[in-house]
Every structure is written in C-alpha cells, then in structure tokens.
Symmetry: C2
Subunit: 243 residues, 2 copies
DNA sequence: AAGTGGTCTAGACCACAGC
DNA sequence: CTGTGGTCTAGACCACTTC
C-alpha cells in the first residue's frame, strides 16, 4: 500500500485512486488485463466496496480503466487512437484517419532552456532529450516537430536506433520507458514560415503556419513531454469540445 | 415529476438528473438560487439520498449546479466567463481577460440553408434568425461573426432593439429566451480574407484568418446556436485540454 | 444547535459474462 | 451456477455554514 497512506487528510477514495494509479503506472497490471474485482480491492484495502467504486469511477473518467459489466475492470490499452491525435485531421479531409509516417531528423541531449524547463517543470540546465522529426502523408510533409523529454526518465530513447522508432512516439514511451500519456494541454497559434521551415514543409516562405504546443501529462498529471509542431495553416482542421 | 418517468428502463439517477435538468431549464430555480436539499429531493422523488447525490453529481460535472458544503446546492450563475470564452485570448496577450465590445451589423430572418439546418438539426427552410456582428477591443475590430438561431425558440431576439443587446449574447439568450448554453463544439480552420472581410477587420486582403465554427448546446445537448467567427490569425491564441 | 453537503459503510438485488 | 460490475437503499458520522 505504502503511498496510499501518503496524506491522511485526503478522503480514502482519493488515496485509493492515487494508489491504483501508481500501481497501474508501475505496470503491475498490463494494458488489457483486468485489475482485481471491486470486492477483492475492498477487502485488500479494508474499505467498503462503495469506496472502491468511487476511486475506480475517477480512473474510468480519466480513461485509464474501463469497466465491463459481468467481466471485470480493465486497464485500457492504446489511448493513442482517439482524441489525443485529433489534429491529424490536419489534412485528411480526403477521408479516413491515417497515421502519418514519421522521420526522425535529429536526436541529441541538451541542457533544458528556461522555456523547456518551465514546461516540463524541471530545473533549468537539466539534461533533456531533444528530437526533431518530420511527419508525412504519402511522402508529403505535414508537420515539423520539435520534442523535448526529461532525460532522466527517457534515457532509453537515446539508445534505440532512430530507424526503429516507428510512426508513433507514445507507444514507444510506454513500451520502452513505462511512461503513459493520458492527457495533454495544447496551445494553438499562427505564425509565418521562415526559410528553413518553408523548405522543410515544402511551402513558400512566409506561408502561414499553425503552431501547436503540446504538454503531455501522465496519469499523475506530471509533465512527460513537451512538443511544438508546425504545419501548413491551410490544411489545418482542429476539433475541440468545450465544457 | 412527469418527464422523470419518461423511460422506465433508465436508472433512477438518470431520470432524476434529466428531470432536474428540465426543471432548471424551465427556470424553476433561478441562477444563484439553491435547489432543495438532497434530503428533500430524496423524499420528494421517493429515492434514497445516495441516488439523489448521483444525479446531482452529473449536473455538477456539467457545470450546471454547484455544491457548497454546509450551505446547499446552487444553480450556477454565469457560465460565461470561463472556458466557453477562451478564444478571447485571441488578443489579450497584453494581460487581463476583457469582454470585447459588440456591434450588431445586421439582423434578419431567413430560411435555413442546408448547412445551418444540419448544424442546428432542424429541417431545411425552417426560419432562422441570422445575426452579423463585429467584436472590438479598444475600437479595434477583432472578430467578425455570423450567427444562426432557430427562430421558433428565439423569436424574442427579433423584437429587442439591437442597441440593447449588450456585449454578450449568451446572457441575452438566457434572460430573454430561457435558453442556457452549457457546452459547445468548435472546429478551427484557417483561410485567407476576402475583400469584405479584410475591410471589416481592417486587414489587407488575403491576410490569414482563423475561422472558428461553434455549435452551442443546452444542457440536454440540443443545439442552440451555430456561429462562424473570423479574426486575424496573427493575433490568435487558443488553449485546449485533451483527455 | 440545526441544517447542509461530504465521506463511508454494509448489504440487497439486478444484469451480464462465462463456464 | 458463479462471479463480475451496476443500481439502490438506509443509516452513521464528519465538516462546514448559519443562526
């Protein structure tokens, strides 16, 4: 249990939620696997089943767990095909949702600039992994991305051959580093392309670019990755729900 | 109760939620006022207090109600200053969040085009109210908006002097028509200004514009309003959370 | 002190999945 | 048939607000 007793002032269902979240993060149950039944968890933690339900409710709302009546409660596999990828509507007016091809252009270790440090909530100068990649559909460049990762949590990323990265990074983070992206915050702005960006994206200079800054968070709401993506504004289409 | 017994197959807390939502929509309790206590509601509807809590939980999650421990549960007043207005960050890099000034340019009744009809989920040709307005900060144009409303629900909007509309429409909808906006879906794209838009927004022709299409929904998820807003892309800044 | 929402319990019964 | 989650109940105690 350990961390479940972190803060006695918090209600039990909160501490239970946090403990379950940590255990899932620790890969105690793998995606697709069921966690113990509500009754078992209640017995194990010494709380009523209603309290267990309330804790699980939250993780279901966070899309971390999935209930299946009569079967059990399961760790969700693949949080990668849904809303987090929304801005790939970026171009596919033409129809279906395809995963863009990915080409890593550069990978290096650098000290965190103040902007990166404040986004990732780490000290300035701390080593971070910096990735540059280009995303394409049908070999047409769609997005130029700069990506920053805290090196201490993602050291493995420096070891893998970039050719083996695949087209999606989040599954890589999960498989190689045990880091799971569950939510994100995005800020959208528009700027004009400089010469390098124009060349990379095969646009004319000064063409309008959409800029998407995204901070990806794990299920304990700690920053995992910060990225800045740029793509041609005229092919952009972004869907959002407001509550 | 009436509508609470609409569908016996639904769980009680769902039917209770719907009934409370309808009563709030009917202005049975005004914004800022408390609804009856959980115990009272339980007695009135003949359900356990836990069931009442579950129904209220949902309305709290929808930002329709607000709990205050020791005081009661209140109908939220003014859902107008929070996330629904996010894109007014549109320009105020300079600091605080201000409500742009609003100038109604045109108001008329027209038959719904197929696009408007499908957005508002009404038959093509049904009369709708069409508004054009300009929004400004410090007399600088910021957004040019086209707005469509189902005329049968918003007939009063045709009667009020447009000079008395004020700077915000949603409070107007609520006060005059009893229609409350609780959530919305937005689609963002970028296009270039035509001559009329450029003149209106005081931009040069072909300047990039951000286009925000918004469908506003009431707490029963029925479409209330559809609008298309255009503003200078270089002053655009949009924040979104993804889950 | 009285009334409100917040937490937690213990148990009943139902609907569904899987053997 | 057994085990799972889904709904619902009735009541205890706590924390907070108001008088």
């Amino acid at each position: 249990m350990n961390s479940a007793s972190r803060d006695d002032r918090l209600p039990r269902y909160q501490r239970l939620r946090d403990d379950l979240a940590a255990r899932i993060n620790r890969n105690e149950w793998r995606p697709g696997e069921p966690i113990p039944s509500e009754a078992e968890l209640g017995a194990h933690y010494g709380v009523a089943i209603g309290t267990v339900r309330k804790a699980i409710d939250q993780l279901v709302a966070d899309a971390v767990l999935e209930r299946q009546q009569g079967r059990g409660t399961f760790v969700r596999r693949a949080r990668f095909n849904s809303s987090l990828f929304r801005f790939f509507r970026f171009q596919s007016e033409s129809g279906e949702r395809r995963v863009p091809q990915s080409r890593i252009i550069r990978r290096r270790s650098v000290p965190a600039t103040s902007a990166v440090a404040s986004a990732l909530r780490i000290p300035v100068g701390e080593p971070v992994i910096s990735l540059s990649r280009l995303r394409l559909i049908d070999d047409v460049p769609l997005l130029a991305e700069e990506i920053w990762l805290q090196q201490s949590r993602f050291a493995k990323i420096l070891e893998i051959d970039t050719a083996e990265f695949g087209d999606l990074l989040y599954p890589l983070y999960e498989e190689r580093c045990g880091e799971v992206v569950v939510s994100a915050e995005e800020i959208l702005t528009v700027e004009t392309a400089n010469e390098m960006q124009a060349r990379l994206l095969r646009l004319e200079a000064h063409a309008p670019l959409i800029v998407i800054e995204r901070l990806a968070l794990d299920l304990e709401r700690r920053p995992i990755e910060w990225r800045r993506s740029r793509g041609p504004a005229d092919r952009f289409r972004y869907h959002a729900e407001i509550r």
